[in-house]
Structure formats: structure tokens, C-alpha cells
């Protein structure tokens, strides 16, 4: 059991009726052993619940907690946000899963690019690079101002922070690839780390390619066990089938077949919509009776 220590709503997307939540939960073993880039799987019910992977957004080994950040996109995340509060226990959290990010001292700067919900998993990687003394420039972006979060946290761990929004309601009016290109043109970039929607990572790879800068992308596929057993997270990397859960979640962006990955992520989309619809009816009913 993992007690919820803190719950915060980080953003609300009116257009899509989706929120981003921050949960700080007790998980002493995970907090002690996790490294940047690793994730957990949670379930809101240990019989009927879906297994949902989430990257660890922050952790504290001494205090024995981890932080997870998620967007309410499906039935499970919606119920998690609506029904779980500070003091409640999350029935299942397993982790840390996946291979940690390879962090090493670099000559040039490390450019970290996070889009939308991808800002959360990027945070520990920014922190880890900062801690070992790399020069870190971070770009965070979202469609609009309300969807941005972690600006202060990112600023604290970066040498420079660039904020962009698609509609210009906050920071610079741009998509993340624009400052990415500009920085690659004028500075020595040793590595780019890009985390966000698959389409964003695909465009970051395309933008980085002319400069030949290595680019690491962190993939967020569907998973069940998260230990290499079921293979539903498989992706094609350099023509080989790889498992995001045990071979990843980070892969050389130049080798990832993003088109296939995006297709595979739609496998259960109809079902998700159905479940999400059902779930919202249930949650609304809950509100009325409460």
C-alpha cells in the first residue's frame, strides 16, 4: 500500500476536458532505488484495475516518497484523479521499472526538450544532468499557457530555461523544434533528450538530424506487466523489435520507428473512448449523490 502524501492539479485543458495531476506517494524501496528515466506501474484496484505506466517525476530517498504526474486521458487516470485523495492508499505501485537514463559528463551542453505531459518525466533527467555538472538548457512547451507546469522546478535544475506555447499565451510563440534548431546552430550540443507526444519526438529527431547531434527519446507505449513478459510495448528500433519496458524506455531517436509506434498506440483507442465515456458518467453520478 502506498499512502498519498500530496495531491495537486497542475493544469486543466478545457478544450479536451483533461487535467494534469501531481501525486506524491509513499514508496520507500522505489524511492531508494530509482534513477532518472525509470518508471512505475500503478493500479487503482488490484483485481479489476488496468496497469498504467508512469515515469517517476521526482523522488526523495530519505523521506521515502516518489512523485508521479499524469494526465486524465482514460478511465483509470480519470478515476485515480477523482477518487483518490491525500491519506488514501494506492493499492498497487511496482517499480522502478526500465533502464535508467545513461548520465555522463559531457563536453558540450545537454539540451532537454519536454512537451506537454512529457515535461514530468524529463524533470529527473534535467536534475541528474545538472547534478553531475553538465550545462543544461531546457525547453518546455505546450499548446497553451494553462497546460504548462514545473516551470520553477525546471528553472532550478537548468542553466537556461526556454518556455514556448503554440498559441503564444505564455513564453515564446513557437513549437519546441524552433529553439532546438537555433541552439544547435550556435552552440556545441553533446546530446538532446526529447520527451513528449510521439509526434513531437519524431519532429525533434528530424530537427536534430542535420546537426548530427545524438538524440535520446523516451517512449510511452501501452504496457501490462512492465517486466518484459507480455511484449505489448514492443517498438521497432533500428529494424529490430525492442521492448520499451526492459530495453527502454529510452532509445536512440534516430532509430525509432515512430510511425509504427503511433499506429500501435491506437490499438485500443476505441475501447478507451468507450471506457472514458462510461467512467465520466459514473463520476458525474458520484458527484450528484455526494
Amino acid at each position: 500500500m502506498h499512502k498519498i502524501l500530496e495531491k495537486r492539479q497542475l493544469s486543466y485543458d478545457k478544450e479536451r476536458d483533461q487535467s494534469v495531476y501531481y501525486f506524491k506517494v509513499e514508496a520507500p524501496e522505489i524511492a531508494r532505488n530509482r534513477k532518472a528515466g525509470q518508471f512505475i506501474i500503478f493500479q487503482i484496484d488490484d483485481t479489476w484495475g488496468e496497469r498504467v505506466p508512469l515515469t517517476i517525476a521526482d523522488a526523495n530517498a530519505e523521506e521515502g516518497w516518489i512523485a508521479i504526474v499524469f494526465q486524465t486521458v482514460g478511465a483509470s487516470t480519470r478515476k485515480f484523479a477523482a477518487k483518490f485523495n491525500v491519506g488514501d492508499n494506492v493499492p498497487v505501485i511496482v517499480g522502478p521499472l526500465g533502464r535508467p537514463t545513461h548520465i555522463e559528463k559531457k563536453d558540450g551542453l545537454v539540451l532537454c526538450v519536454g512537451g506537454g505531459i512529457g515535461i514530468a518525466p524529463l524533470h529527473p533527467i534535467v536534475q541528474a544532468n545538472h547534478e553531475i555538472g553538465n550545462k543544461v538548457v531546457t525547453i518546455i512547451g505546450a499548446r497553451t499557457k494553462e497546460l504548462l507546469f514545473f516551470e520553477d522546478e525546471m528553472k532550478a535544475a537548468s542553466d537556461e530555461l526556454i518556455v514556448v506555447t503554440d498559441d503564444g499565451t505564455y513564453g515564446r510563440k513557437a513549437v519546441v523544434t524552433e529553439p532546438l534548431k537555433e541552439i544547435c546552430e550556435k552552440e556545441k550540443v553533446s546530446e538532446i533528450v526529447s520527451i513528449g507526444p510521439a509526434i513531437m519526438m519524431k519532429f525533434c529527431v528530424a530537427a536534430a538530424r542535420p546537426f548530427g547531434v545524438p538524440i535520446t527519446t523516451s517512449l510511452n507505449t501501452i504496457m501490462i506487466d512492465g517486466t518484459g513478459m507480455c511484449d505489448c510495448c514492443r517498438v521497432s528500433v533500428g529494424g529490430e523489435t525492442k521492448f520499451v519496458c526492459v530495453d527502454g524506455p529510452e532509445f536512440d531517436g534516430y532509430k525509432v520507428d515512430f510511425d509504427n509506434m503511433m499506429q500501435r498506440m491506437t490499438a485500443f483507442k476505441d475501447k478507451e473512448r468507450e471506457a472514458d465515456h462510461k467512467c465520466r458518467i459514473g463520476l458525474d453520478a458520484g458527484k450528484v449523490s455526494a
Binding site: N33, D46, W48, E50, I224, C232, V246
Partner: protein, 501 residues
């Protein structure tokens, strides 16, 4: 296909045989071997194939008491116990059957439990026709292994009898030794080690990565073949003995093996993490939407209970025409599960013939009865998708059997130019598993072979001091009973080591 016999019909038949046997025994005469072998093997009662193919309930219903008594009388107590030699854990088979002959079911199940702690499970999932029953003297006399004494069904009968009548006796552990044993994985190997080391008085903790205990018996083998209630009962019994279970704890990641031994103070550890890394065909189109490993397909349905659409949050992939690739038990489970999840047409594509199938004979028979359409001597060459990346078909090639290969089975040889397309909207690949790399990745010193299986000595000891391993992580994908056999050996060695410490 012969007409389906109901339990009542089979019971009536058995009652007649029983009357005949009683008549022959009248006046205290004993039965001759001929009397015994003249009784045909008692059929396993099963649910109606047409109805059951759409339900998750257990298919094989188990013998009636009369059937069990009649079947037990078919054993001639031949003397050499060849059957016992065919059992990987050496169950005293003639002895337990003798108990049934006397009508003492409790003594029968206790006799089995001397060497096999999970008879209700093994009675259901062991490939008996390849093990004990293939050595049975009665089968040899009748010149048909199918006419051997139905040892597995008898084993299941007495184990179910014990559970149904609340006669299970939980062994009392020896006085506490103060030694701690870590068991990694709660499948058949791990549960066996937990039971045997706890009995010796050690403090035992079982670590399971999933949220439910039972390993492959829970995520892999479906409800209709092995009810989950039986597995959870076995786990309950271990808890009653004082074994502690930690679920959602992935050894290697949550804590490493080294941390368990050094930091958490475990004196010994057993690795029974199973063979969880699915093999693929390596053909074009394998990453299309709708192509699943059997592990994913079955885990969604079994462990995540996605078949219960009303309650479960985990979604299923709707498919009307499903093809399963492979000829083992997992392929049979996948094909029969597809029917239960609503497929209208289910194919099983296997590159050899029925005779070479590694699956348990009863599962193949059940699959055929339920309407699975077998395509023998065919193998896929590529998966075909639509513009959205969804599977719409598979190209198959015909095969013929050539010379025997290393496995002793005749090697399938492709017949060029026989390509043809089967329209399907889901594919389930059941070609077996390789060993999961996680323990090796997180325990770099651990010695494994080329296939990633942990290398052990004759006592299941690995190259790392205080660490044993067994089950599929050592054997490659094998069976529940072989995993248990390894667990027993490991536990004996662990107990010996801890006694000397």
C-alpha cells in the same frame, strides 16, 4: 466427433462397471488382472462443448466418486512401479492408487503430497500421457497408451475431494530456526521452495512482481483449464504455514538480489522467475495492430480479467477471425480463449501434424470439440495490414514432413509456390518463451547460458553463494511439474545449507 457424454451418462456407465466388479469380488474373491484390464478407462466428464466454448468455467469436471473407484481398480499393482519412474517428482503412484482402491481418499492424497505439494494443479495440467501414463503396464498390456490407468484424473479426484471436504491438513513447520529465505517468483517452483523451506522452520518471504500470486498458473493458464481459486487456495495454505508474500515487488529493480542478501539479511535466495520473454516469428508485419504474443493475449484475459467487460478496466481487442500460431499448450489456451472472447472463427496454424503437437492430448481434443479449425502443415510467411496498420490477413505456406530433426520429430519442409492468404483480424503468436533477462541485467555476476537460462549444479545452486535457481528460468519453457521437481531439489539443498550454518 463422437456424441458428447454428460456426467450422468458416464456415472451410469461407471456404476455398471462397479456392479460387475463387486459381483466378481463376491464371497471374498480377489480381482484378477484380467478382471481389472477388461474395464475400459473412465472418460473425464466435461461440459458441453458448444456451450462451454463461450464461457470461462472449467471444462473438465472431474471424476465422480464411482468413476474414481472404478478407474483405480484398473491398476493391477504390477509391482515394478514403472509409472513412478515417469514422474518428474517420483509420486508413489501405485501406493496412492491402492489407497483409492481401499476407499481411503485422504490417505491417497497424503501419499501424493509426500512428493508433490500441488496435486490439484498437477492433476489438471501435467502432460500425463507423456510422463507416468506412458510407462503404465496396463497401457502396455492393452497395446495403447490411451488405455493406461488415468493416473492424472485420479490425482485430481483425491485432491479435489480433500479441498471440497475441508480435509486439507496444513503441515506444522519445525521450530523457528531464525534463518531467512527469499523466494523470487510465486509460480510452481517458488511455491514449492517456500513450502519445503518453511516446513524446515525457516522464515520465508516470497517476492512476486505481479499484483497476484501464482505466476504462470495465474497469468498464463486460463480459468477454464485451471480455476484460479485452486491456485489461491494453495497460496492460502502457505500463508497459514507462516510464509509471507510480497506482491508488486520486482526483485532486481525494487531491490536487487544483492540488497536482499546483504541489506535485508536473507541467508539464502531462490530464483524462480520463469521464462517470460515471448518468442516471435521474425516475419514481415509482426508489429501490426492485432498481432499479439500469447503472453499478452492471455495475460489480458486471465490476470487482468478483461473477459469480464463489465468490471475490468483492461480492454480487449475485438476480433472475429483469430489465428493462433503454435502447437503447444499455450497455443491451445490462446485458441480456446479466443472463442470465449467472442471470435467467430478460430484457426490454429501449426507447421507439423497433430501427432507432433507438444500440447497435452486432452487440450487438443477439447480444442477440436470446441470448434477450433486446425491448419496443419502450414506456416506464416508474412502478416498483411491495411493502410492504418491493422492486421487483415496472413500469408501461409504449405509444408510437408521430411527427415527427423534433432528433436526426433520429422522436420517440416516448405513446399515452394503454395502461398495462400487467410483473412484474419487478430493473430496470437504462441511459439514459446525465452528466459527473462531482468535477473541477469541486475545481477551481472550471475552465470547464464547462451539462451539466458541460469546455470545451476545438480543441487540447483547457481555460481553466486547462497543463491539457488529452478523452474523455467533454468529449464527454458517447460512444465509445472518439472518446475516443482527443481524446487524440491533446491529446497532440500537450501535446508541442508542452512542446517549446517
Amino acid at each position: 466427433m463422437s456424441e458428447h457424454k454428460t456426467t450422468e451418462m458416464l456415472q451410469e456407465e461407471a456404476a455398471k462397471f462397479w456392479q460387475d466388479l463387486e459381483a466378481k469380488r463376491a464371497g471374498g474373491a480377489s480381482l484378477t488382472p484380467k478382471d481389472r484390464t477388461s474395464v475400459p478407462p473412465q472418460e473425464m466428464p466435461s461440459r458441453d462443448p458448444i456451450q462451454r466454448a463461450h464461457e470461462m468455467g472449467e471444462v473438465a469436471l472431474g471424476y465422480t466418486e464411482t468413476q474414481a473407484r472404478v478407474e483405480a481398480e484398473r491398476c493391477i499393482q504390477c509391482g515394478g512401479a514403472p509409472c513412478k519412474k515417469g514422474c518428474p517428482v517420483g509420486v508413489p503412484i501405485p501406493e496412492f492408487i491402492a489407497c483409492i482402491q481401499k476407499g481411503d481418499f485422504k490417505a491417497a492424497v497424503d501419499t501424493i503430497k509426500q512428493t508433490n505439494l500441488l496435486p490439484a494443479i498437477c492433476g489438471r495440467v501435467c502432460p500425463q500421457e507423456k510422463q507416468c501414463q506412458s510407462f503404465c503396464t496396463v497401457g502396455k498390456m492393452m497395446k495403447s497408451p490411451e488405455k493406461a490407468v488415468a493416473i492424472g484424473r485420479l490425482e485430481r479426484y483425491v485432491a479435489d475431494w480433500e479441498r471440497a471436504n475441508n480435509k486439507i491438513t496444513v503441515p506444522t513447520p519445525a521450530p523457528e530456526t531464525g534463518k531467512k529465505v527469499a523466494v523470487i517468483g510465486s509460480g510452481p517452483a517458488g511455491l514449492t521452495v517456500a513450502a519445503d523451506t518453511r516446513r524446515a522452520g525457516h522464515s520465508v518471504t516470497v517476492f512476486e512482481a505481479f499484483h497476484k500470486t501464482g505466476g504462470v498458473m495465474v497469468y498464463g493458464i486460463p480459468e477454464f483449464r485451471l480455476p484460479k481459486e485452486i491456485v489461491s487456495k494453495e497460496v492460502e495454505n502457505l500463508k497459514k504455514m507462516g510464509v509471507e508474500f510480497k506482491t508488486s515487488f520486482l526483485v532486481g529493480r525494487t531491490e536487487t538480489l544483492e540488497q536482499l542478501l546483504d541489506r535485508e539479511g536473507f541467508d539464502a535466495a531462490f530464483i524462480g522467475t520463469g521464462a517470460g520473454l515471448p518468442k516471435f516469428l521474425g516475419i514481415e508485419g509482426e508489429n501490426l495492430i492485432g498481432v499479439f504474443s500469447a503472453n499478452e493475449y492471455l495475460t489480458r484475459a486471465n490476470l487482468m480479467k478483461a473477459y469480464d467487460r463489465e468490471h475490468a478496466d483492461t480492454p480487449l481487442y475485438d476480433a472475429k477471425r483469430v489465428a493462433v500460431f503454435g502447437g503447444g499448450n499455450v497455443a491451445m489456451d490462446g485458441a480456446r480463449m479466443a472463442l470465449r472472447l467472442g471470435a467467430e472463427k478460430v484457426y490454429c496454424v501449426y507447421r507439423r501434424t497433430r501427432a507432433e503437437m507438444p500440447a497435452r492430448a486432452e487440450e487438443v481434443a477439447h480444442a477440436i470439440e470446441e470448434g477450433v479449425d486446425f491448419h496443419f502443415l502450414e506456416n506464416p510467411t508474412k502478416f498483411i495490414g491495411d493502410e492504418k496498420g491493422k492486421l487483415i490477413g496472413v500469408e501461409l505456406l504449405n509444408y510437408e514432413l521430411g527427415e527427423p530433426d534433432a528433436s526426433g520429430r520429422r522436420k517440416p519442409v516448405a513446399i515452394p509456390g503454395t502461398e495462400h492468404v487467410l483473412d484474419i483480424d487478430a493473430a496470437v503468436v504462441a511459439l514459446g518463451n525465452e528466459s527473462n533477462p531482468l535477473m541477469k541485467q541486475t545481477t551481472p555476476d550471475l552465470e547464464v547460458n547462451k539462451r539466458g537460462n541460469i546455470i545451476v549444479d545438480e543441487n540447483q545452486k547457481t555460481n553466486i553463494p547462497r543463491v539457488w535457481a529452478g523452474g523455467d528460468i533454468v529449464l527454458g519453457a517447460a512444465t509445472v511439474i518439472l518446475a516443482m521437481g527443481e524446487g524440491r531439489r533446491a529446497a532440500a539443498s537450501i535446508n541442508e545449507y542452512l542446517a549446517g550454518k
